[in-house]
Symmetry: C2
Subunit: 224 residues, 2 copies
């Protein structure tokens, strides 16, 4: 819900002004700007209500549920998505933005929310601090990987394959990983992030960690 809210708001005319999302008209194109604005707000609020209500209904101890709320709140706000979007906006049209600034943007805008989802899931299931931090590092690399592959696909895939407007970053003069590292360099970096994410899983039981390993590999090799 938090991710969907950020996409709906991100597509609005005053932000990225994108008419296409997941192969369909974006929210404000289909339902108008006021509805898109309110839908994003409603999804944000609903996300927190859902965690609190869902945890209570499932008998999750309240202190764990509360940690999930904190984690998600921080990731959705100034400690994550919003911070990344502000930095992204400020760097817009400035391809001279360096690798450090680009990493800041994606670590906050994307990876932080993936971390929060993973850590919340772990904490709710009773993970200790050390385990939760290992899950966080895995999710951090996974989140950056997601973005590097996104940047590569923005160059190499079609709008039809992506379900959103391709080639948009280059047209907007945005700094991207292929822009800063070259296409081969970006692909090599994706491989490096995949290896780092997988390495964090080595400490867990192999069979139970298998789905997380598959998720990371899927993220690295997806074509859309």
């Amino acid at each position: 819900m938090i991710h969907a809210a950020s996409l709906i708001h991100d597509d609005m005319p005053c932000m990225d002004d994108d008419a296409l999302r997941r192969g369909r008209p974006s929210n404000h194109v289909a339902f108008g700007e006021p509805t898109a604005l309110l839908a994003g707000d409603a999804l944000l609020a609903l996300a927190f209500e859902h965690v609190a209500r869902g945890c209570a209904a499932a008998g999750v101890p309240a202190d764990r549920a509360l940690r999930a709320v904190m984690e998600l709140g921080r990731a959705a706000g100034t400690g994550g998505v919003t911070a990344g979007q502000v930095a992204d906006m400020e760097g817009e049209g400035d391809p001279s933005v360096g690798l450090a600034a680009l990493e800041y943007i994606h670590a906050h805008k994307t990876a932080r929310l993936v971390e929060a989802a993973a850590v919340s899931g772990a904490v709710v299931r009773g993970a200790g601090d050390a385990e939760a931090e290992r899950v966080r590092r895995y999710a951090h690399f996974l989140g950056l990987l997601l973005q590097v592959v996104d940047d590569v696909l923005d160059v190499t895939a079609t709008s039809e394959q992506l379900g959103k407007t391709a080639g948009k970053d280059a047209a907007a003069g945005k700094a991207t990983y292929p822009w800063l590292l070259g296409l081969d360099g970006a692909r090599a970096y994706a491989g490096e992030l995949l290896a780092k994410a997988e390495a964090e899983l080595d400490g867990f039981d192999a069979a139970r960690a298998a789905p997380l390993r598959q998720l990371a590999r899927f993220m690295a090799h997806r074509q859309h």
Copy 2:
């Protein structure tokens, strides 16, 4: 924070398009639309993080804190503010909206959030269900009172007194309490709501309930 977020988003060009708020340029006028959109999102997320973190730091039992998160999440989203704003938007420019529809709008857009704040405060301090529901009814009448007085002042006060654009509802062809009940009728209704709010407080210790009584009276008699 939830209230501020809703005001920031409400003032944006695609919503009420209001350039003045609390006597100063509204957020998007001062900082631009993208920042206003993100500031509202960040405040929404921060609100939930704040409740979770603040309660944990203050030693509030986690199950009470979680109930506050649920209450606020529901009030900020489709169970409250957002539902009211959608209904408000649909009624815009249609002064034939009846009293029932107007009550729906304000019960959700305004009163529901006042209720959530009051009930959260009560629950966090250990109120039982019956007490919390009495606090909710008090806050419900208080929230409607706030709106009726707002509508009256929109007609009778100046922009300078209000710190926001006066006469805006009439100009927008919005249904308001003075429109539906007349100015005297709206004032009489405000008096009725004040009496109902105060009546809910009769069940509480008089000295401890005094601030809530004063708050209701202030809300009824304020000039700005």
